[in-house]
Protein backbone atom coordinates (compact mmCIF):
# COMPACT_ATOMS: atom_id res chain seq x y z
CA UNK A 1 0.00 0.00 0.00
CA UNK A 2 0.93 3.64 -0.17
CA UNK A 3 3.64 5.23 1.86
CA UNK A 4 1.04 7.10 3.86
CA UNK A 5 0.04 3.97 5.74
CA UNK A 6 1.68 4.15 9.14
CA UNK A 7 3.05 1.17 10.98
CA UNK A 8 0.31 -0.61 12.86
CA UNK A 9 -2.45 1.10 10.96
CA UNK A 10 -4.59 -1.14 8.82
CA UNK A 11 -3.98 -0.19 5.23
CA UNK A 12 -7.09 1.25 3.70
CA UNK A 13 -8.42 -0.04 0.39
CA UNK A 14 -7.43 2.22 -2.46
CA UNK A 15 -7.05 5.12 -0.08
CA UNK A 16 -3.54 6.33 -0.75
CA UNK A 17 -2.56 5.38 -4.25
CA UNK A 18 0.74 7.27 -4.21
CA UNK A 19 3.59 4.81 -4.04
CA UNK A 20 6.30 7.45 -4.39
CA UNK A 21 8.79 7.84 -1.59
CA UNK A 22 8.64 11.60 -1.85
CA UNK A 23 6.12 14.07 -3.13
CA UNK A 24 6.08 15.70 -6.55
CA UNK A 25 7.99 18.81 -7.56
CA UNK A 26 5.98 21.95 -8.41
CA UNK A 27 6.54 21.26 -12.10
CA UNK A 28 5.20 17.74 -11.77
CA UNK A 29 2.21 19.05 -9.82
CA UNK A 30 1.56 21.43 -12.69
CA UNK A 31 1.52 18.44 -15.03
CA UNK A 32 -1.16 16.73 -12.94
CA UNK A 33 -3.10 19.98 -12.87
CA UNK A 34 -3.02 20.12 -16.68
CA UNK A 35 -4.17 16.49 -16.95
CA UNK A 36 -7.00 17.47 -14.58
CA UNK A 37 -7.92 20.41 -16.82
CA UNK A 38 -8.28 18.05 -19.76
CA UNK A 39 -10.41 15.75 -17.68
CA UNK A 40 -12.63 18.62 -16.50
CA UNK A 41 -13.19 19.75 -20.09
CA UNK A 42 -14.24 16.22 -21.11
CA UNK A 43 -16.59 16.12 -18.11
CA UNK A 44 -18.33 19.32 -19.17
CA UNK A 45 -18.29 18.74 -22.92
CA UNK A 46 -19.83 15.29 -22.63
CA UNK A 47 -22.27 16.67 -20.00
CA UNK A 48 -21.33 13.78 -17.72
CA UNK A 49 -21.41 16.17 -14.78
CA UNK A 50 -25.06 16.89 -15.48
CA UNK A 51 -27.63 15.99 -12.85
CA UNK A 52 -29.97 15.19 -15.75
CA UNK A 53 -27.58 12.57 -17.20
CA UNK A 54 -27.41 10.78 -13.86
CA UNK A 55 -31.21 10.79 -13.65
CA UNK A 56 -31.43 9.34 -17.18
CA UNK A 57 -28.97 6.65 -16.15
CA UNK A 58 -30.76 5.58 -12.97
CA UNK A 59 -34.13 5.68 -14.76
CA UNK A 60 -32.68 3.49 -17.57
CA UNK A 61 -33.95 6.05 -20.08
CA UNK A 62 -30.70 6.70 -21.89
CA UNK A 63 -27.74 4.58 -22.86
CA UNK A 64 -25.36 7.55 -22.68
CA UNK A 65 -23.78 7.11 -19.22
CA UNK A 66 -23.58 3.33 -19.64
CA UNK A 67 -21.78 3.94 -22.92
CA UNK A 68 -19.38 6.40 -21.28
CA UNK A 69 -18.50 4.22 -18.29
CA UNK A 70 -18.47 1.00 -20.34
CA UNK A 71 -16.17 2.34 -23.06
CA UNK A 72 -13.93 4.00 -20.44
CA UNK A 73 -13.52 0.63 -18.71
CA UNK A 74 -12.76 -1.15 -22.01
CA UNK A 75 -10.11 1.44 -22.96
CA UNK A 76 -8.71 1.46 -19.42
CA UNK A 77 -8.49 -2.35 -19.30
CA UNK A 78 -6.85 -2.58 -22.74
CA UNK A 79 -4.32 0.10 -21.74
CA UNK A 80 -3.42 -1.75 -18.56
CA UNK A 81 -2.97 -5.00 -20.52
CA UNK A 82 -0.71 -3.19 -23.02
CA UNK A 83 1.31 -1.72 -20.13
CA UNK A 84 1.71 -5.23 -18.72
CA UNK A 85 2.48 -6.97 -22.02
CA UNK A 86 5.17 -4.49 -23.02
CA UNK A 87 6.29 -3.87 -19.45
CA UNK A 88 5.92 -0.12 -20.01
CA UNK A 89 7.61 2.02 -17.36
CA UNK A 90 6.68 5.45 -16.04
CA UNK A 91 8.38 8.40 -17.74
CA UNK A 92 10.84 8.42 -14.84
CA UNK A 93 11.67 4.79 -15.59
CA UNK A 94 9.92 3.23 -12.59
CA UNK A 95 7.99 -0.01 -12.82
CA UNK A 96 4.22 0.46 -12.90
CA UNK A 97 2.64 -1.40 -10.01
CA UNK A 98 -1.12 -1.71 -9.60
CA UNK A 99 -2.12 -2.59 -6.07
CA UNK A 100 -4.79 -5.25 -5.66
CA UNK A 101 -7.90 -4.12 -3.83
CA UNK A 102 -8.85 -6.16 -0.81
CA UNK A 103 -12.52 -7.05 -0.34
CA UNK A 104 -14.22 -5.37 2.61
CA UNK A 105 -17.80 -4.96 3.79
CA UNK A 106 -17.33 -1.24 3.18
CA UNK A 107 -17.52 -1.80 -0.56
CA UNK A 108 -21.08 -3.02 -0.01
CA UNK A 109 -22.29 -0.67 2.74
CA UNK A 110 -20.23 2.36 1.73
CA UNK A 111 -20.92 1.73 -1.94
CA UNK A 112 -24.64 1.68 -1.27
CA UNK A 113 -24.48 4.90 0.78
CA UNK A 114 -22.51 6.62 -1.99
CA UNK A 115 -25.11 5.44 -4.52
CA UNK A 116 -27.87 7.17 -2.55
CA UNK A 117 -25.86 10.40 -2.55
CA UNK A 118 -24.92 10.04 -6.21
CA UNK A 119 -28.58 10.05 -7.29
CA UNK A 120 -29.30 13.12 -5.11
CA UNK A 121 -26.34 15.30 -6.04
CA UNK A 122 -26.03 13.97 -9.58
CA UNK A 123 -22.30 13.81 -8.99
CA UNK A 124 -19.50 11.59 -7.89
CA UNK A 125 -16.54 13.45 -6.37
CA UNK A 126 -14.89 14.24 -9.76
CA UNK A 127 -17.90 15.97 -11.29
CA UNK A 128 -18.39 18.00 -8.08
CA UNK A 129 -15.18 19.89 -8.89
CA UNK A 130 -16.18 20.39 -12.52
CA UNK A 131 -19.67 21.60 -11.54
CA UNK A 132 -18.14 24.22 -9.25
CA UNK A 133 -15.78 25.32 -12.03
CA UNK A 134 -18.65 25.57 -14.50
CA UNK A 135 -20.25 28.23 -12.33
CA UNK A 136 -22.57 26.32 -10.00
CA UNK A 137 -20.71 27.73 -7.03
CA UNK A 138 -23.36 26.55 -4.58
CA UNK A 139 -21.91 23.03 -5.14
CA UNK A 140 -19.05 24.27 -2.91
CA UNK A 141 -21.44 23.53 -0.07
CA UNK A 142 -21.92 19.97 -1.37
CA UNK A 143 -18.13 19.62 -1.57
CA UNK A 144 -17.61 20.86 1.99
CA UNK A 145 -20.30 18.45 3.13
CA UNK A 146 -18.56 15.63 1.26
CA UNK A 147 -15.30 16.50 3.04
CA UNK A 148 -17.25 16.43 6.31
CA UNK A 149 -18.65 13.01 5.39
CA UNK A 150 -15.14 11.75 4.69
CA UNK A 151 -13.95 13.14 8.03
CA UNK A 152 -16.80 11.49 9.93
CA UNK A 153 -15.94 8.19 8.24
CA UNK A 154 -12.30 8.58 9.29
CA UNK A 155 -13.28 9.48 12.84
CA UNK A 156 -15.53 6.44 13.30
CA UNK A 157 -14.01 3.97 10.83
CA UNK A 158 -12.73 1.70 13.61
CA UNK A 159 -16.28 1.29 14.93
CA UNK A 160 -17.85 0.44 11.59
CA UNK A 161 -18.12 -3.10 10.21
CA UNK A 162 -15.25 -3.64 7.82
Amino acid sequence: MGTAVKKGEKPNVGATPNKEQKGESPLELLMYLIIGVGFGIIFIKAEIVSWFRIQEMFRLQSFFMYGVIGSAVVVGALSIQIIKWFNIKTIKGDKIIITDKEFRKGQIIGGFIFGLGWALTGACPGPLFAQIGSGFTVILVTLISAVAGTWVYGRFSHKLPN
Partner: protein, 193 residues
Protein backbone atom coordinates in the same frame (compact mmCIF):
# COMPACT_ATOMS: atom_id res chain seq x y z
CA UNK B 1 -11.06 26.53 -37.99
CA UNK B 2 -14.52 28.02 -37.47
CA UNK B 3 -16.04 24.67 -38.33
CA UNK B 4 -13.78 23.05 -35.80
CA UNK B 5 -14.88 25.54 -33.12
CA UNK B 6 -18.50 24.85 -34.04
CA UNK B 7 -17.91 21.13 -33.77
CA UNK B 8 -16.08 21.39 -30.45
CA UNK B 9 -18.96 23.39 -28.99
CA UNK B 10 -21.40 20.55 -29.59
CA UNK B 11 -21.89 18.14 -26.70
CA UNK B 12 -19.55 15.20 -27.24
CA UNK B 13 -21.03 11.73 -27.84
CA UNK B 14 -20.37 8.92 -25.37
CA UNK B 15 -18.05 7.09 -27.75
CA UNK B 16 -15.68 10.07 -27.70
CA UNK B 17 -15.96 10.94 -24.00
CA UNK B 18 -15.84 7.38 -22.64
CA UNK B 19 -12.59 6.32 -24.37
CA UNK B 20 -11.00 9.68 -23.48
CA UNK B 21 -11.84 9.10 -19.82
CA UNK B 22 -10.47 5.57 -20.16
CA UNK B 23 -7.18 7.04 -21.39
CA UNK B 24 -6.78 8.90 -18.08
CA UNK B 25 -5.89 5.49 -16.57
CA UNK B 26 -2.69 4.88 -18.61
CA UNK B 27 -1.86 8.61 -18.61
CA UNK B 28 -1.65 8.76 -14.82
CA UNK B 29 0.13 5.40 -14.65
CA UNK B 30 2.77 6.41 -17.18
CA UNK B 31 3.25 9.95 -15.91
CA UNK B 32 3.86 8.93 -12.32
CA UNK B 33 2.62 5.43 -11.55
CA UNK B 34 -0.57 6.90 -10.10
CA UNK B 35 -3.81 4.99 -9.77
CA UNK B 36 -6.76 7.02 -11.04
CA UNK B 37 -9.00 8.02 -8.13
CA UNK B 38 -10.71 11.23 -7.16
CA UNK B 39 -12.47 10.67 -3.85
CA UNK B 40 -9.05 10.33 -2.14
CA UNK B 41 -8.69 14.09 -2.62
CA UNK B 42 -11.44 14.59 -0.01
CA UNK B 43 -9.40 12.54 2.45
CA UNK B 44 -6.28 14.58 1.72
CA UNK B 45 -8.23 17.78 2.40
CA UNK B 46 -9.17 16.33 5.81
CA UNK B 47 -5.53 15.39 6.44
CA UNK B 48 -4.39 18.90 5.47
CA UNK B 49 -7.01 20.90 7.34
CA UNK B 50 -8.53 18.90 10.21
CA UNK B 51 -6.47 15.77 10.95
CA UNK B 52 -7.53 16.01 14.65
CA UNK B 53 -5.08 13.26 15.58
CA UNK B 54 -7.28 10.69 13.86
CA UNK B 55 -5.00 7.88 12.59
CA UNK B 56 -6.94 7.80 9.31
CA UNK B 57 -5.85 11.38 8.62
CA UNK B 58 -2.37 11.53 10.11
CA UNK B 59 -0.16 10.80 7.15
CA UNK B 60 2.15 12.87 5.01
CA UNK B 61 -0.39 14.54 2.76
CA UNK B 62 2.38 16.44 0.97
CA UNK B 63 3.11 13.22 -0.94
CA UNK B 64 -0.49 13.18 -2.15
CA UNK B 65 -0.58 16.74 -3.45
CA UNK B 66 -0.67 15.46 -7.03
CA UNK B 67 -4.24 14.37 -6.35
CA UNK B 68 -5.17 17.85 -5.11
CA UNK B 69 -3.47 19.44 -8.15
CA UNK B 70 -5.47 17.07 -10.35
CA UNK B 71 -8.87 18.03 -8.88
CA UNK B 72 -8.03 21.76 -8.99
CA UNK B 73 -7.34 21.09 -12.67
CA UNK B 74 -10.75 19.42 -13.01
CA UNK B 75 -12.41 22.56 -11.61
CA UNK B 76 -10.40 24.78 -14.02
CA UNK B 77 -11.36 22.41 -16.85
CA UNK B 78 -14.99 22.80 -15.81
CA UNK B 79 -14.58 26.58 -16.04
CA UNK B 80 -12.94 26.43 -19.48
CA UNK B 81 -15.43 23.87 -20.81
CA UNK B 82 -18.34 25.96 -19.63
CA UNK B 83 -17.11 29.44 -20.57
CA UNK B 84 -15.07 28.96 -23.73
CA UNK B 85 -16.51 25.83 -25.29
CA UNK B 86 -20.07 26.04 -24.05
CA UNK B 87 -22.93 24.42 -25.89
CA UNK B 88 -25.30 27.31 -26.76
CA UNK B 89 -28.35 25.03 -26.91
CA UNK B 90 -30.43 23.69 -24.04
CA UNK B 91 -29.33 20.32 -22.72
CA UNK B 92 -30.97 17.41 -24.51
CA UNK B 93 -32.55 14.98 -22.08
CA UNK B 94 -34.57 11.85 -22.88
CA UNK B 95 -38.28 12.68 -23.18
CA UNK B 96 -39.25 9.97 -20.73
CA UNK B 97 -36.84 11.48 -18.15
CA UNK B 98 -38.27 14.95 -18.81
CA UNK B 99 -41.77 13.61 -18.12
CA UNK B 100 -40.65 11.92 -14.89
CA UNK B 101 -38.80 15.04 -13.73
CA UNK B 102 -41.70 17.34 -14.62
CA UNK B 103 -43.81 15.29 -12.21
CA UNK B 104 -41.22 16.15 -9.55
CA UNK B 105 -41.29 19.85 -10.44
CA UNK B 106 -38.08 19.99 -12.52
CA UNK B 107 -38.54 21.67 -15.90
CA UNK B 108 -35.53 24.00 -16.35
CA UNK B 109 -33.14 22.62 -19.01
CA UNK B 110 -31.17 25.80 -19.70
CA UNK B 111 -28.06 24.45 -18.05
CA UNK B 112 -26.36 21.16 -17.19
CA UNK B 113 -27.92 21.33 -13.71
CA UNK B 114 -31.54 22.18 -12.89
CA UNK B 115 -31.69 25.73 -11.48
CA UNK B 116 -34.73 24.77 -9.40
CA UNK B 117 -32.41 22.74 -7.16
CA UNK B 118 -28.91 24.10 -7.57
CA UNK B 119 -28.97 27.78 -6.61
CA UNK B 120 -27.79 29.80 -3.61
CA UNK B 121 -31.34 30.78 -2.62
CA UNK B 122 -31.95 27.15 -1.66
CA UNK B 123 -28.96 27.03 0.67
CA UNK B 124 -30.71 27.57 4.00
CA UNK B 125 -33.89 25.76 3.05
CA UNK B 126 -34.99 22.13 3.30
CA UNK B 127 -34.11 21.77 -0.41
CA UNK B 128 -30.53 22.82 0.26
CA UNK B 129 -30.31 20.57 3.29
CA UNK B 130 -31.39 17.56 1.21
CA UNK B 131 -29.46 18.15 -2.02
CA UNK B 132 -26.31 19.89 -0.80
CA UNK B 133 -25.74 18.94 2.82
CA UNK B 134 -27.18 15.42 3.04
CA UNK B 135 -26.33 14.56 -0.57
CA UNK B 136 -22.73 15.72 -0.20
CA UNK B 137 -22.33 13.96 3.13
CA UNK B 138 -23.54 10.64 1.67
CA UNK B 139 -21.09 11.01 -1.23
CA UNK B 140 -18.12 11.78 1.04
CA UNK B 141 -18.91 9.21 3.70
CA UNK B 142 -19.93 6.49 1.25
CA UNK B 143 -16.98 6.81 -1.12
CA UNK B 144 -14.43 6.71 1.69
CA UNK B 145 -16.16 3.77 3.38
CA UNK B 146 -16.21 1.99 0.01
CA UNK B 147 -12.56 2.93 -0.57
CA UNK B 148 -13.25 4.73 -3.83
CA UNK B 149 -15.79 6.24 -6.15
CA UNK B 150 -16.77 5.88 -9.79
CA UNK B 151 -13.22 6.71 -10.88
CA UNK B 152 -11.31 4.57 -8.40
CA UNK B 153 -13.60 1.54 -8.40
CA UNK B 154 -15.80 1.56 -11.52
CA UNK B 155 -13.10 2.75 -13.94
CA UNK B 156 -9.65 2.12 -12.41
CA UNK B 157 -10.70 -0.92 -10.36
CA UNK B 158 -12.67 -2.78 -13.01
CA UNK B 159 -10.08 -1.88 -15.68
CA UNK B 160 -7.44 -3.59 -13.57
CA UNK B 161 -9.78 -6.57 -13.02
CA UNK B 162 -10.30 -6.11 -9.27
CA UNK B 163 -13.40 -8.05 -8.28
CA UNK B 164 -14.00 -5.99 -5.09
CA UNK B 165 -14.42 -3.00 -7.40
CA UNK B 166 -17.12 -4.85 -9.32
CA UNK B 167 -18.93 -5.44 -6.01
CA UNK B 168 -18.55 -1.75 -5.08
CA UNK B 169 -19.86 -0.63 -8.49
CA UNK B 170 -22.90 -2.92 -8.21
CA UNK B 171 -23.75 -1.33 -4.85
CA UNK B 172 -23.17 2.22 -6.17
CA UNK B 173 -25.80 1.43 -8.78
CA UNK B 174 -28.12 -0.28 -6.26
CA UNK B 175 -28.04 2.80 -4.00
CA UNK B 176 -28.67 5.08 -6.96
CA UNK B 177 -31.62 3.03 -8.26
CA UNK B 178 -33.18 2.91 -4.79
CA UNK B 179 -32.81 6.66 -4.28
CA UNK B 180 -34.15 7.51 -7.76
CA UNK B 181 -37.11 5.14 -7.81
CA UNK B 182 -38.14 4.96 -4.16
CA UNK B 183 -36.91 7.89 -2.07
CA UNK B 184 -36.41 10.81 -4.47
CA UNK B 185 -40.08 11.50 -5.17
CA UNK B 186 -41.27 11.52 -1.53
CA UNK B 187 -38.15 13.38 -0.37
CA UNK B 188 -38.63 16.11 -2.98
CA UNK B 189 -42.25 16.50 -1.96
CA UNK B 190 -41.15 16.72 1.67
CA UNK B 191 -38.71 19.57 0.99
CA UNK B 192 -41.28 21.56 -0.97
CA UNK B 193 -41.00 20.75 -4.69
Amino acid sequence: MEQFIEWIKQPWPWWIAGPMIGLIVPTLLIVGGKAFGISSSLRHVCAMCVPSNIPFFTYDWKKELWNIAFVIGVAIGGFIGHNLLANPEMIEVAESTQRDLAALGITDYRSIMPHEIFNWENLFTAKGLLFFVIGGFLVGFGTRYAGGCTSGHAIMGISSLQWPSVVATIFFMAGGFLMTHVFLGPLMKLVGF
